[in-house]
Symmetry: C2
Amino acid sequence: MYTVHGMRASGNCYKVQLLLDQLGIDYRWVETDVAGGQTRTPAFAALNANGKVPVLQLDDGRCLAESNAILCYLAEGTPYLSADRWQRAGALQWMFFEQYSHEPAIAVARFIARWLPLDHPRHADLPALRERGHAALRVMERHLSEHAWFSGVSYGVADIALFAYTHCAPDGGIELDAYAQLRAWLDRVRAQPGFTAMQA
Amino acid sequence: MYTVHGMRASGNCYKVQLLLDQLGIDYRWVETDVAGGQTRTPAFAALNANGKVPVLQLDDGRCLAESNAILCYLAEGTPYLSADRWQRAGALQWMFFEQYSHEPAIAVARFIARWLPLDHPRHADLPALRERGHAALRVMERHLSEHAWFSGVSYGVADIALFAYTHCAPDGGIELDAYAQLRAWLDRVRAQPGFTAMQA
């Protein structure tokens, strides 16, 4: 049985939960206290030297880090990852977009707005983060004006990756009202078989 | 024939050049003036709405963005991307690590130190970027103490992705002297058949 070392409030960890739920795969979830420094211990470094959740651990002890790499691993051979070379490359394109241009703005804005005290100096970063977040959402909106999904011809790993922090962008003060296509896509994701909501 | 829209001084673009050279694939290179705003034009947005190089364009006009997605696309079915599910997931793990934990520190430090005037306010970011860059290099050094490559049992896409900005980290004031394993790995990459250096 897979073990997921994760944190329920993390969108990156939620991606793994959602795909495992949709695949109907049993797993053990080990809640990890990131704020308390649990990812900075030697024991955790043996799971992921980069000190981040989620980590997928196999029964034989082997570990895989990076949420989007875990999604690809779990989805291999399933309808959530196309067997077509071009479609798969397109899904990867959106997953790298998510980690480079989307998550560092939208997830970080959410973290600051939701968990840091109001007098914390990082609140000063919010305007720039929100601007970058909206830039990423505009790129997504443009894609959705011509395509139903980010993973190719059907729902899959890139949709899961992008759903994770897009649906809770308003937590960071990044409102979705201006993005009609994007809100319709969020609803299509929520309507997928086996969909489960983020538990935070 | 493939067209690469790129910028020679960009490590992300160099990744694509290096793999195409190693695969012996002919391509047309369209040098793109990023500093001059060429990636912010409507014409470029039609290639990549996210306004970034590199972009790989096929003869039929289809475009693929995100350097590491392009690497996976080009390497499919070649020795540069393993056919084994676990090995491939491991390569992807390192490619997402590169885009999230490595490039935003090491490439950005290089950009500021090499291209921005000394009185530019972003020079104040360098100490924090260098600290994050060294943290990423320590994670790589630890991996290399037990493994020869980042792509699995042999050289491949994750090594190309990580070589691109690691080998020129000193441009950004991130010295490599402390990382013996890492310097030996850089030499192993340079010794690979078809290796070509970055032209910047």
